[in-house]
């Protein structure tokens, strides 16, 4: 009986795989008298040796150093693996760009500019590096703040502290402020033939925004072309390679006698702050005034507002009133909303579709690479039950990753890492595809959100703003929410992105750094992803007995008609889990002078707005605060309202958060060169802010101080 050559025992024996000694002995006995079987064994061993030798020589490249380092740190320890190679890549790219510019003999002018930009980039680099270190140090800390003992008030409280006499301490009023009785310089004329869209050139120096500039000495609008206008004749109409901001005119004082109601939509966006920071700290120049949206700067910060107590309302609303720091005769009222806090763990199942712009303009390190890092950060926090899909758009829109369970992170990561920028942008098609995908995988009662990351430079397909926003508005009705992450410099279409997020039941953040991505997508992930109330509107009825005039600070592009408040078809802003929203009103008390020009009374009409003899509301109140909101999936709104009195606090008696918000608003007004900025110089702002820093767990407040200092230096030049 001989052993067939098909007998796998031959190979097993040849390779020493016969573990059982009895089997082996029996097999050895069998082949002893079978030379052909023994030859087979030898032949198998020969092939095996050849294979071993050849295969052992095949390279085994292993992980990248950064990947290995990340493993050695273990999961969730230190910075994620993909940061290091990218950061290193950015540095190399900077150096190469610089050398390339030096070699080009035809572009001395350009090279000169490149060097300046290089310096700016190096600052960016240094800033990024520090940011990374901070991020690393902070990664394991508990990221939500304990309520501070000085958090003011209960749910929907009004100021009722012991009536203190109205004593204005000198400390409240920074030296050198303008006498409020002086006429304010007129605001820059809004119509001087320049287009409403102010285009900022990449070549501009200083605050070289083409268009009317207010000469502080003369108090008269003068045309100040600056170097930018000389170098760049494409300032109008908008050209590629230019950042675009909508013109914003600060809200004026309104007389309560003429307009006793103020209505606006809340706004939790923070994009403007991050963008301003990019100008001041990374690029070392003052931001164009229209890039500064004061409400977004104020809302950038975490405030120790207490979340709502368990009850019917998803957020708490509180009001605090104190002396206005930039005009001691005025009062400043702060309306503070705080959304119910969700831990990421308690969050409902999440269906996310990333819609990523991979057009050619996204190639720089601060765009697609940053977006990729940001998306990795977000993916890190998702798990089973969540899903992620990825759609890209460039020349054509494409599906990169169908919705994939979020515990399959390697696939999601791999898909992200394969993205490359190239082509021109057809945003419309991508938006369509992303929403279709999100709708197809809609999780009822869960989080359904499209996350759009772009520099906003839509230039193919539906690219006119009207059609795009109409499309988003339509898509938002499907219950899919939108987050817009703006990136990049040079051709940032800020206004477009803000509008998209507003129409799309969304929020808008500008990512100037990985640190910012970490704030938006890690620490405030629940707020970014989970909407707890939508179409949140604020309406204030002023009491003519106590208030002569008022001015809403910021929110210029969020104003609503008073009829819109009760109109549930009118869209407004959303509040995310744990979000805080702050709005400031500067109030001119009854009897005080109202700044600004007067409107003559209409001779056909009796003097308007006489106080009611017996008001239904609290006659001593400053105003009645009213809020409307809808549940995230609801269609009808809920009303909250309460009358608010003045506690007659001096500014220094206000809570630290109040002082901080006031300092940030002042800073915004100073950067905008607002006609209402009063006497607040940068040093005065800095002084207030320094006294109100409080707990600064994430370092954002320290960073604000650095921004004020930078602005002071830059404006002194």
């Amino acid at each position: 009986m001989s052993i067939g050559k098909d007998d796998p025992r031959l190979t097993a024996y040849a390779l020493g795989e016969m573990d059982d000694p009895a089997d082996r002995a029996a097999f050895e006995k069998e082949i002893e008298g079978d030379p052909s079987a023994r030859a087979e064994v030898e032949a198998i061993r020969a092939v095996a040796a050849a294979l071993k030798g050849e295969l052992a020589a095949e390279p085994a490249p292993g992980l990248t150093d950064a990947q290995r380092a990340s493993v050695e740190r273990g999961p969730h320890r230190g910075i994620p693996w993909w940061i290091v190679p990218l950061a290193a890549g950015a540095l190399v790219a900077v150096t190469l760009a610089y050398n390339a510019a030096r070699r080009d003999p035809e572009a001395m002018e350009v090279a000169h500019k490149e060097r300046d930009e290089q310096a700016a980039r190096e600052r960016t680099w240094e800033y990024e590096r520090r940011t990374l270190e901070n991020t690393q140090n902070r990664r394991h800390e508990v990221l939500h703040e304990e309520p501070r003992p000085d958090a003011y008030g209960k749910d929907f409280d009004v100021e009722v502290d012991a009536v203190a006499p109205v004593v204005e301490l000198a400390g409240d009023v920074p030296a050198g402020r303008r006498d409020p009785s002086d006429p304010e310089p007129p605001p820059p004329p809004s119509d001087t033939g320049s287009p409403p869209l102010v285009v900022e050139s990449r070549l501009r120096v200083e605050r070289g925004v083409p268009g009317p500039v207010l000469d502080p000495a003369a108090g008269v609008p003068v045309q100040l072309p600056g170097r930018a206008a000389l170098l760049d004749d494409t300032a109008s109409p908008p050209s590629p390679g230019a950042e675009a901001y909508d013109r914003t005119v600060d809200n004026p004082f309104r007389l309560v006698a003429e307009a006793d109601t103020s209505t606006f939509s809340i706004d939790v966006d923070t994009a403007s702050y991050a963008n301003v920071r990019r100008f001041l700290l990374a690029e070392g120049r003052l931001p164009p005034p229209d890039a500064v949206r004061i409400e977004e700067m104020v809302n950038y910060f975490d405030y120790a507002y207490e979340p709502p107590s368990p009850g019917p309302h998803p957020f708490a609303a509180r009001v605090e009133v104190a002396t206005c720091p930039w005009n001691a005769r005025h009062r400043l009222a702060r309306i503070a909303l705080k959304g119910r806090v969700f831990e990421m763990k308690q969050r409902p199942p999440t269906n996310l579709v990333f819609l990523l712009d991979v057009s050619g303009s996204m190639r720089p390190a601060n765009k697609l690479p940053l977006v990729r890092q940001a998306m990795h950060l977000l993916v890190d926090q998702l798990d089973e039950g969540d899903s992620v899909g990825i759609v890209v758009y460039a020349g054509a829109a494409g599906l990169v990753l169908p919705p994939t369970p979020a515990d399959r992170k390697a696939e999601i990561r791999a898909a992200l890492d394969r993205l490359e920028a190239g082509g021109s942008t057809n945003g419309g098609q991508g938006i369509q595809l992303a929403y279709d995908l999100a709708a197809k995988h809609f999780i009822k009662g869960g989080v359904n959100r499209v996350i759009l990351a772009t520099d906003g430079d839509f230039n193919v397909g539906i690219s006119d703003r009207g059609s795009l926003t109409r499309m988003i508005e339509e898509k938002a009705k499907s219950g899919v929410f939108l987050s817009v992450l703006g990136v990049g410099t040079g051709n940032l279409k800020d206004a477009m992105m803000e509008e998209l997020s507003n129409k799309g039941n969304g929020n808008y953040a500008y990512l100037d750094s990985l640190k910012e991505a970490e704030k938006v997508l890690v620490r405030q992930a629940a707020g970014t992803l989970v909407t707890i109330a939508k179409d949140v509107k604020i309406q204030v009825f002023f009491n003519p007995r106590t208030v002569a005039a008022y001015r809403l600070v910021g929110y210029e592009n969020r104003l609503l008609a008073k009829e819109d408040f009760n109109d549930d078809t009118k869209d407004a802003g959303e509040i995310g889990a744990g979000h805080s929203v702050t709005a400031l009103y500067e109030l001119v008390p009854a009897g005080a002078d109202v700044p600004g020009p007067r409107v003559d009374p209409n001779p056909f009409v009796a003097a308007p707005a006489k106080p009611a003899e017996t008001p239904v509301a609290d006659p001593e109140a400053l105003f009645r605060l009213r809020l409307r909101y809808k549940a995230p999936e609801g269609d009808t709104s809920t009303l909250m309202e309460s009358d608010v009195r003045d506690g007659r606090r001096a500014f220094h008696e206000a809570t630290a958060d109040f002082q901080w918000a006031a300092a940030v608003a002042s800073f915004g007004m100073a950067l905008r060169d607002s006609p209402h900025r009063g006497g607040m110089s940068f040093p005065a702002i800095l002084e207030i802010a320094k006294g109100a820093v409080g707990r600064d767990d994430d370092g954002t407040r320290a960073e604000f101080l650095a921004m004020v200092e930078a602005a002071q230096r830059l404006s002194a030049r």
């Binding site: 007998d7 071993k52 390279p59 490249p61 292993g62 273990g74 999961p75 829109a397 394969r418």
Partner: protein, 180 residues
Amino acid sequence: MKGHDQDGRDWIAEALRLHEGPLVRYAARITGDLELARDIVQDCFLRLCRQRREELDGHLKEWLFKVCRNRAFDFLRKARRMDAGTNDLVDLDRTPGAGPAPLERAEASEDARRLLAVLADLPERQQEILRLKFQEGMSYRQISAVTGASIGNVGVILHGAIRTLRARLGDGTVPTRRQA
């Protein structure tokens, strides 16, 4: 506590030292994409960091290769599904699995080239098991644990693969030479 932590780190470092390269090579064979393979392997090790060491003692290697294999095939399945189901959607380039295998050697002797060429013609399943056996030095039992094939089946596949190899190397391209 700290000592324990340090032990854990040493364990991971040792696992990296021993298996990182082979795992990436293995995953790259399956996916045809080195970068993807790296991500998969990194993910394997990150999963390893969350495992209890006691539970893996004695079969760490199999565990790593098995996790790696599952992730790689998951990815391939998904990629193929995408190819099949993306009618109106434009596929991006760099579909995983496409393109040349990333691990070609620069120079090899004539014999070695022939051996590798014949190896490359074998069915994927045979190639995989040959590699696990002769490249990674795994036993039948380990290969069984990684691939899910029974130990007997591993033996049969391996035996068949070696016979085919020998036949093709022995006389050019004639597949088999049956024993009378």
